[in-house]
């Protein structure tokens, strides 16, 4: 037993942490950009089309967290009851595998929100810049996506070792 938690508990904790990190990050990030977007729309409702992708983009981290959590649940049968057979070290491995998504998504979503705010300023100035403006916060997305890939790879390798 590691820290007195069973493998099942560790796996649950990992899934929850992934969903939590991504979710918190995304909600904060979206709040930032949505706030600014709302302000822009008050003065110029026609910018909606340009701003919507910017508002949506910090939301992806939440989805990554969600995917990771779902993968943990299905790979290790946390619903079917199979999860009970996980040993404590196995469960801890699963927990660690969830960490990249948890932290990278938490932090990147918040900063992506901040970057999107800057990009929204560009859109407010010139609607034609909407495409370019989207690229900048999208760069932040890379690292959230990489963390998702790593988490999935790690989960796959743990599953293969069962």
């Amino acid at each position: 037993m590691i820290l007195g938690l069973s493998g099942f508990h560790w796996a649950l904790l990992g899934a929850a942490a992934a969903a939590l990190g991504g979710g918190i990050g995304s909600s904060i990030g979206i709040t930032y950009i949505a706030n600014v977007a709302a302000g822009i729309l008050v003065e110029d409702p026609e910018k909606f089309g340009g701003l919507l992708p910017l508002c949506a983009i910090p939301g992806t981290q939440g989805i990554y967290g969600f995917i990771t959590a779902v993968l943990v649940v299905f790979f290790f049968g946390l619903i079917g009851g199979e999860g009970g057979k996980l040993t404590s070290p196995q469960g801890f491995q699963i927990f660690l595998a969830c960490m990249p998504v948890c932290f990278a998504c938490l932090v990147s979503a918040i900063y992506q929100g901040l970057t999107a705010v800057g990009a929204a300023g560009m859109v407010a100035k010139r609607m034609e810049e909407a495409g370019k403006a989207l690229i900048l916060p999208a760069l932040v997305e890379t690292y959230a996506a990489l963390s998702l890939i790593i988490s999935i790879l790690l989960l796959l390798s743990i599953r293969a070792g069962l």
């Binding site: 705010v117 929204a120 300023g121």
Partner: protein, 339 residues
């Protein structure tokens, strides 16, 4: 260093910043200013203004007094917009205190001169002017809101001692800048603090040069200079008796050196005819940094400053035209633009 403000500002000022980013586009462009200056006559200028949000205020403008009234109303709208953007009293005060202190000056001077000055009250401040007048007339200064109390008391005291109306201005200006400095410090915002420091420094440089031109005595300037500047007022006092070049020498490593070099360019007598413009440009160029802040207090403050500068520019161009000021004289006095 990660600052907490980075994560709070987007929530606190997000909507306001968003609105400002759009409105920045509607500030006057160089092109529009040029058209206003080059317009054939006053009615042409009004036609150009009608394309902007000034239009509604300038519908029945004929005389210079009408222009003043229209611009006063327009500024009132700008400050109402600021109230809408932020509920923070400090920020609102930061812009409106100036008008309160103007009103206090008027009230004190009219009290001592036994005149009425209602026509030169400003309605852009926070102070309830008629009530303040009654309190000041009846000598019940202690009933005034706390912010102004000490300032009014001291200026009354100073006037009664020296019987010199200029002392009222000097004391109240000093208190105004002290309050502005306090507000900026309480906001813990570098941009705002730097801005106030720049206001104070520029005010001190202006006082120094003008006093020198007017051949005032040294004790005059030691009273009139402000505290809290980035350049200590002691420096100004120490070199007041020396030739003007020593000011440039003292300030050569500060951002103000360039400004002074322009003023000192010709001969010994300092030419202050375009000094007002240089000073405003200097402050506005600092404010311009706010445009690169994606979200926060800075864009709001920057925008309001830009708006104030724009209103001044419209005044320069329109009243200049009605007063038959030559075009090149008007152009000489047009400030830089925020965008």
């Amino acid at each position: 260093m990660v600052r907490l403000r980075t994560f709070i500002d987007p929530i606190k000022y997000g909507v306001a910043t968003g609105r400002i980013k759009v409105l920045e586009n509607k500030l006057f462009t160089r092109h529009r200013v040029e058209r206003l200056v080059e317009a054939d006559d006053f009615s042409d200028q009004l036609r150009i203004l009608a394309e902007t949000d000034y239009g509604g205020f300038f519908e029945n403008v004929r005389t210079i007094d009408d222009i003043e009234e229209a611009l006063h109303k327009y500024l009132a709208k700008v400050y109402d917009f600021l109230d809408e953007l932020t509920r923070e009293r400090e920020i609102i005060s930061f812009f409106r205190l100036r008008y309160d202190f103007h009103n206090l000056k008027v009230l004190l001077k009219t009290k001592y001169k036994q005149e009425t000055g209602e026509h030169i009250w400003s309605h852009l401040g926070l102070l309830d002017v008629p009530r303040a007048r009654d309190l000041i007339e009846q000598g019940m200064v202690d009933e005034l809101p706390e912010v102004y109390r000490q300032a009014v008391k001291e200026s009354m005291h100073r006037f009664e001692k020296e019987r010199d109306s200029q002392q009222i201005d000097i004391v109240l200006d000093g208190y105004l800048y002290k309050l502005l400095h306090g507000l900026a410090v309480s906001q813990r915002n570098d941009f705002l603090q730097d801005l106030v420091k720049i206001f104070i420094d520029l005010g001190n440089i202006k006082t120094f040069l003008r006093a020198k031109n007017l051949r005032r005595k040294k004790d005059f300037i030691s009273q009139a200079l402000f505290d809290n500047g980035s350049i200590d007022k002691g420096i100004f006092i120490a070199i007041y008796g020396e030739p003007l070049d020593s000011l440039l020498e003292q300030l050569k490593n500060t951002p103000y050196a360039e400004l002074l070099r322009v003023v000192f360019r010709e001969g010994k007598k300092v030419d202050l005819s375009t000094f007002d413009k240089l000073v405003d440009n200097f402050a506005l160029n600092h404010a311009k940094k706010a445009r690169y802040v994606p979200v926060g207090l800075e864009p709001i403050v920057g925008y309001i400053l830009a708006k104030e500068s724009e209103v001044n520019m419209v005044r320069v161009i329109l009243t200049g035209r009605l007063n038959n000021v030559p075009k090149d004289k008007i152009r000489e006095r047009i400030r830089d633009l925020y965008v």
